[in-house]
Amino acid sequence: NAGVTQTPKFRVLKTGQSMTLLCAQDMNHEYMYWYRQDPGMGLRLIHYSVGEGTTAKGEVPDGYNVSRLKKQNFLLGLESAAPSQTSVYFCASSYSRQGRNQPQHFGDGTRLSIL
């Protein structure tokens, strides 16, 4: 049981480049989330999805787009990377029963540096 898998684990980009981070979960969870983790700031929600084909904005959505074409996958896109987007990105998923009070299961993160 792999849980939540994020690819790639590391990436270095130049300013203005684009890329997509992939998150896959094999737990049949309805809800999926993308967070960024920055020193001293905890985790901040970028976007989330409550089911296949649906997405919603979180606390810090600017500069990012997401898609949930399949239930098991949640993609995070950076169209034009900026140095301020240097961060560690975490994907998480959870069951939908009782709404969003279920514990979230996290991947091991993608470390992204924008030069």
């Binding site: 939540v4 967070y35 001293g40 700031m41 905890g42 985790l43 901040r44 929600l45 989330y48 979180g58 606390e59 975490f90 998480a92 009782q98 969003r100 009070n101 514990p103 979230q104 299961h105 996290f106 991947g107 091991d108 993160g109």
Partner: protein, 112 residues
């Protein structure tokens, strides 16, 4: 909007001693409270949560947390710390209308 504060960046304890990691919160309405732990180069792992009911919540690895509504606190505790408990701990809160908000994290170091 809800918020959560972890007033200590770092907590140091000796192995075998009790540990406390502090968390205070602010929400409108009833809070839903969580503790997660993060080991180096890993994602967060769920420890425990308070939704309703008993104020003392027991979780994984011998951890527990006490919900105190009057003090708006949800401190994480363990009676006897282990060196392997050394990690980064996050408190999180949400209310019924909003998304989860995480604290900045507290680094726990348990010394032999």
């Amino acid at each position: 909007a809800q918020s959560v504060a972890q007033p200590e960046d770092q907590v140091n304890v000796a192995e075998g001693n009790p540990l406390t990691v502090k968390c205070t919160y602010s929400v409108s309405g009833n809070p839903y409270l969580f503790w997660y732990v993060q080991y180096p180069n890993r994602g967060l792992q769920f420890l425990l949560k308070y939704i309703t009911g008993d104020n003392l919540v027991k979780g994984s690895y011998g951890f527990e947390a006490e919900f105190n509504k009057s003090q708006t606190s949800f401190h994480l505790k363990k009676p006897s710390a282990l060196v392997s408990d050394s990690a980064l701990y996050f408190c999180a809160v949400r209310d019924v209308m909003n998304d989860m908000r995480f604290g900045a994290g507290t680094r726990l170091t348990v010394k032999p």
